[in-house]
């Protein structure tokens, strides 16, 4: 009997039973501990440290504000050209949360996260052993930053680890080489992972899915730590945030995942709710919630254990985090905290406060976190006024001292672009490659017992019979099978690798590449995701930067739009924005569709080749699919792997011995010659190979000997092979199924014009899909280039004397007229 992969029957009798949906009250400002209670829990010195940390955060941001608005700070003149999204007034939220977090807990922030990352760093420094801190500082950047601190910021008055932290952040904000990310991230992206601060994000809500991915990694590795997404209230309007809340509370963790993974990932959503999303007021204007915590009631029956917390009181925030952290470690995530607070500073320093009244700002100043907390400490006799003033003064001196050194361009320079003009490009790819273990592990069955693997072993490796006839995909290894072979090889041997996407488990992926994998790979490493393309990509990023590897599927490449920011701004950029501190070993599979029309049949390779930071491959044969997939899964750079749905059933006809049974790799950046010829070079991208090959057969009848090159890899692209070929043939036609306008084929054509101009007998031409929608199945052949279309162009543009009177649809198109019409 067919094995049932899971057992959550949906019973209509239960579904249609009369009932009421229940929700419970969520606490709002229910914190009740007295200062004596807190004193007993934390001790006097710790409570004083909270105040000092708030002072540091405040003064640090006062300094930035002063530079932005006056060009100087305490007699230090400096023009700071970058952004300063300050959170003056929100210090209790940042410091209170950090105070309660452990050094190993990870926080991910927003574009307004200076305070959060400084506070978390200070908290880690307070809690880590001196030896540990010393080794962290020594290991980081070859010890350069700590040497700088010991040389230039050596006043014994100040703790060197704090100076290390603050100079790393400030140098990053000021875009200097000693910054934590060599100045490649800047103000909105600063982070330092050894202290538990992870990428802050300039895209509102952008951290949410990344943090969930990190929580998934912590969960699957049984780490006793939590992950925190510090988000603004404005991000409750962002799709990714909702996707991420759902992703972190999917029913399958508890219902389907085996022990010890049958718990929810330790994920905390901290909304630093200052009531304004830049100038739009979330409360009452742009959002529907009355209290931000209400949104948790829409996520799961536990209502995300949500609470609304007073973010002007650091101890109220710390109290909540301590309680919630315990729940999270026990597997009861995700949790939502609505931390209400207020920023007096503008959204940015150009903010004129047009959207709020001066009275409102004045009212909130009575709730100033530092003022309130100081009074409380004095009242409780924990600190006296004199000590308080000394503390404040010392912090001001610390920040002034720090700033005086970091602004100095001689002492603290930026990376030398004059000397090395392409240095930023060097951060784009790390080109690191892992080797895979030969030993299998973490499997439900031995490989030999798996039906999927047994059925592949029965098939012919080559796609033609001994008599030369083409074998069906039931008898020979197809492109789909060869992908499966490479992927199952890695999944079986690399425990850090997880695979997910919509219907990836039981269905085996929409096009069956993973069919049968659920027999062998445990569900916690191969699972169905919700229809949340943004979260699929975003969580993979968090999983990967935490030390894991992920292969994710987007079903149709048309759905790239649903994950636009996550692919364009996150996946493609974090390696370079972190100056190589982060690696993103992720393979994003996206299929190029067929038959379904405009929203399902687009070749969007060119959208992605336009974005720097992604390796992009598009194999057209089973041999290449397996070899390129192996290379992609070994790469530590993010790779987008395009697959054509029209090619899944293709058998191998080019490599004589067929698709090797054994594991092998096809390197990135190497094209392959499918046919040698002397009269014209036809470069094909992906599935167009087959149309071009058919055309080349017909061209022989007209004494035109075409050389066919299959690109295989788009980024990087093998210019060497192409230029060598064009040097011999003098003619180039590029065939791609991407729409012609803005296509990557145009970039290649331009480069060939530039680099092989003297060898060209005619201008390079490209043929792509026309600049309109992909029609449905019956009209599809009028859209993507067919062999007739290739023939038309070859005759028309390169061999007009041989032009023949028949062929495809494009024959008489006036391409210039179409272009003028925007088509």
């Amino acid at each position: 009997m067919k094995t049932m992969p899971k057992n959550i029957d949906i019973d209509p009798n239960k579904i249609f039973a009369k009932d009421f949906l229940k929700s419970t009250e969520l606490p709002i400002h229910q914190y009740q501990k007295s200062i004596d209670d807190e004193l007993k829990i934390h001790g006097k010195e710790n409570l004083k440290e909270v105040l000092r940390h708030m002072y540091i955060v405040r003064e640090f941001e006062n300094m930035l504000n002063s530079f932005k608005t006056t060009g100087s700070y305490k007699n230090i003149d400096y023009t700071y050209n970058g952004p300063a999204h300050l959170s003056i007034g929100q210090e209790a939220a940042a410091v209170g949360a950090a105070f309660a977090l452990k050094p190993e807990d990870k926080i991910f922030g927003s574009h307004r996260s200076h305070g959060e990352m400084i506070a978390k760093g200070l908290s880690a420094i307070k809690n880590l052993s001196r030896d540990k801190i010393k080794s962290i500082m020594q290991d980081y950047n070859g010890g350069k930053l700590i040497s700088y601190v010991h040389k230039n910021l050596n006043d014994k008055e100040f703790n060197d680890a704090e100076m290390f932290l603050l100079s790393g952040v400030l140098a990053e904000i000021f875009m200097r080489e000693l910054g934590f990310n060599k100045g490649m991230g800047g103000s909105m992206h600063a982070f330092f992972t050894p202290f538990g601060t992870f990428p802050n994000n300039a895209i509102v809500g952008g951290s949410s899915g990344i943090a969930v991915g990190a929580a998934l990694h912590a969960h699957l590795n049984q780490e006793e730590s939590i992950c925190v997404a510090n988000l603004g209230d404005g991000s409750t309007g962002c799709g990714l945030v909702w996707e991420s809340m759902n992703f972190s509370s999917m029913g399958q963790y508890k219902n389907l995942w085996p022990e010890p993974y049958n718990k929810n990932p330790p994920m905390l959503f901290c909304f630093m709710n200052n009531f304004y999303a830049m100038g739009g007021q979330t409360l009452g204007e742009t959002m529907s919630w009355d209290r931000l915590s209400r949104i948790a009631t829409g996520v799961n029956s536990e209502q995300m254990h949500a609470e609304t917390i007073n973010g002007s009181d650091p101890l109220s925030v710390a109290d909540a985090i301590i309680r919630k952290r315990k729940l999270l470690i026990e597997g009861n995530g995700p949790i939502l905290l609505d931390i209400e607070c207020y920023r007096y500073s503008g959204h940015s320093t150009t903010d004129t406060n047009a959207y709020r009244s001066r009275d409102e700002i004045k009212h909130w100043k009575f709730f100033d976190p530092i003022q309130q907390y100081s009074e409380k400490m004095i009242e409780a006799g924990i600190i006296n006024k004199n000590d308080l003033n000394n503390m404040s003064e010392k912090v001001q001196n610390q920040i002034e001292y720090l700033t005086s050194k970091v602004v100095d361009r001689e002492l603290t320079p930026s990376i030398d672009i004059e000397k090395n003009p392409t240095i930023i490009g060097d951060f784009t790819f790390n080109k690191k490659v892992i080797s895979v273990s030969k030993i299998t592990s973490d499997l439900l069955k031995n490989e030999g017992e798996v039906n999927k693997i047994k059925s592949l072993q029965k098939k012919s490796r080559f796609g033609k019979s001994e008599e030369g006839s083409l074998l069906s995909g039931m008898r020979a290894i197809t492109l789909r099978d060869s992908l499966a072979e490479a992927i199952i090889y890695h999944l079986s041997r690399d425990k850090s690798l997880i695979a997910y996407g919509e219907e990836c488990r039981d269905w085996g992926g929409a096009f069956g590449v993973y069919r049968g994998f659920s027999d062998i790979i445990p569900i916690n490493r191969l699972f169905n995701s919700p229809i949340s393309e943004a979260a699929i990509v975003s969580t993979a990023i968090g999983y990967a930067i935490s030390g894991g590897r992920a292969i994710i599927e987007l079903m149709y490449s048309d759905f790239i739009g649903r994950a636009g920011d996550e692919i364009f701004n996150q996946l493609a950029k974090w390696q370079a924005m972190s100056a190589g501190e982060l690696n993103l070993p992720i393979v994003l599979r996206a299929s190029i569709g067929s038959k379904y029309g405009a929203q399902h049949s687009q070749d969007w390779t060119s959208l992605l080749t336009h974005i720097p930071g992604l390796s992009i491959v598009y194999p057209a044969t089973p041999y290449d699919a397996k070899g390129l997939m192996a290379s992609s899964l070994c790469s530590n750079d993010p790779t987008v792997f395009f697959e054509s749905q029209r090619l899944y059933d293709k058998v191998e006809i080019f490599t004589e011995n067929g698709v090797p049974k054994n594991y092998y790799k096809v390197p990135f950046g190497k094209a392959v010659k499918r046919r040698s010829g002397k009269d014209i070079t036809i470069l094909t991208i992906g599935a167009s190979l087959y149309a071009a090959l058919d055309a080349s057969m017909e061209l022989i009848n007209h004494n035109i000997d075409a050389e066919i090159i299959d690109a295989r890899s788009l980024v990087p692209f093998d210019y060497e092979m192409l230029l060598n070929s064009v040097k011999l043939t003098g003619r180039l036609l590029i065939v791609s199924e991407a729409v012609e306008r803005g296509s990557f084929a145009n970039t290649i054509a331009t480069n060939v014009s530039k680099f092989a101009f003297k060898n060209l007998r005619a201008s390079p031409m490209i043929i792509g899909s026309p600049n309109w929608i992909a029609p449905g199945a019956d009209m599809e052949k009028t859209y993507s280039p067919q062999s007739e279309d290739v023939l038309d162009l070859v005759f028309r543009d390169f061999f007009p004397e041989k032009r023949i009177n028949k062929r495809g649809l494009r024959k008489d198109w006036d391409f210039l007229d179409l272009a003028k019409k925007g088509l």
Binding site: M1, K2, M474, F511, Y648, D649
Partner: protein
């Protein structure tokens, strides 16, 4: 007498593999019972009995490749 044939599953599919027989010769089946499982390059499929009756003949074994349109089983 009713034949169970391998259905047409689209232009590109010409063959299917018999994954599993859920009946044996002589079994009684109701209309709609799943009789066999097949798989193609694209998908796995359950084939149901088109009518009630007794399985009188099974023409192929598990693991066999069969053509679209081929009679794999007969119900009387």
């Amino acid at each position: 007498m009713t034949d169970i044939i391998i259905p047409n599953l689209g232009n590109e599919i010409s063959e299917a593999e018999i994954t599993e027989w859920l009946v044996e010769t002589g079994d009684d089946v109701e209309q709609g019972d799943v009789v066999l499982l097949i798989s193609t390059t694209k998908t796995s499929l359950e084939i149901e009995a088109p009518t009630s009756g007794k399985i009188s003949q099974i023409n192929s074994n598990e693991g066999d490749l069969v053509q679209v349109g081929e009679v794999v089983c007969t119900i009387e």
